[in-house]
């Protein structure tokens, strides 16, 4: 029970963080130049975005919840179980970021969800 509570925090905070970071990076625009100077410039630009900081805060919560659950559960269980991110993330991408999630992508996500269910059942 405690394991699933912590996994839920890892998944929900992690997905929320991903969505916030994606929103920020799309506002910054496509990265076209990969010189170290240009990458530092992108990072500097990114650190001025509120959305990046919201993303970092949510990812920090997810990170400590992950550390906690790793102190008692196996890596080979915890990591695939957090693949539930994909399913939660697709809904976030569809409804918050307005991405068009095609039927093929949904089919792939359904397989991912089945995999996560199996991993959790095989605990």
């Amino acid at each position: 029970m405690r394991t699933f509570l912590f996994l839920a925090i890892v998944v929900l905070a992690g997905t929320g963080g991903d969505i916030a970071v994606t929103h920020a990076m799309k506002q910054i625009g496509e990265v076209k130049n990969f010189s170290p100077r240009a990458i530092l410039g992108v990072l500097w630009h990114a650190l001025k975005s509120k959305w990046i900081w919201l993303g970092i805060a949510l990812m920090t919560v997810a990170f400590f919840a992950l550390l906690a659950v790793l102190s008692w559960a196996e890596v080979s269980f915890v990591v695939p179980a957090t693949a539930a991110n994909y399913v939660v993330g697709a809904f976030g991408a569809r409804f918050l970021l307005k991405e068009r999630v095609s039927q093929t992508r949904w089919a792939g996500l359904l397989l991912v969800a089945a995999g996560v269910a199996l991993v959790c059942a095989a605990r």
């Binding site: 970071v21 890596v75 093929t104 995999g115």
Partner: protein, 138 residues
Amino acid sequence: MPSSKNLLAKTIPLLILVPVFGSVGNVLLGKGMRGMGKLPDLSIPSLAVYLLKILSSGWIWLGIGSLLIFFVSYMLVLSWADYSYVMPVTAVGYVLAPLLAHLLLGEVVPGARWVGAAFIFLGVAVVGRTPPSTTRQV
């Protein structure tokens, strides 16, 4: 607008870095946390002592370093590719992690868990066949 071939030429190397550094990072964190013992209680002093113990572990810092490389690669790729495309592709790492946990940490992985990991991998392959960006301004 760059051709979709150029877009793939920079997307694919980053999509390899992301799962490799992501799973190595998770395995290192697992290695570090395995040595921590149980959290005694949820009082502030015990939490602080426990946090210091975590932050003085070399394995944890190696894991954090690895996850930082993961995070920067991930941010770069998200600047042009759809989240719903990138995120499932990185699921390769969720199959790589149990493999590394088995080989490096000696975890016993039950058969059904491998089947579950295979389903996740298949799901990834299906999603990877869709184009990388649907919201780009052309």
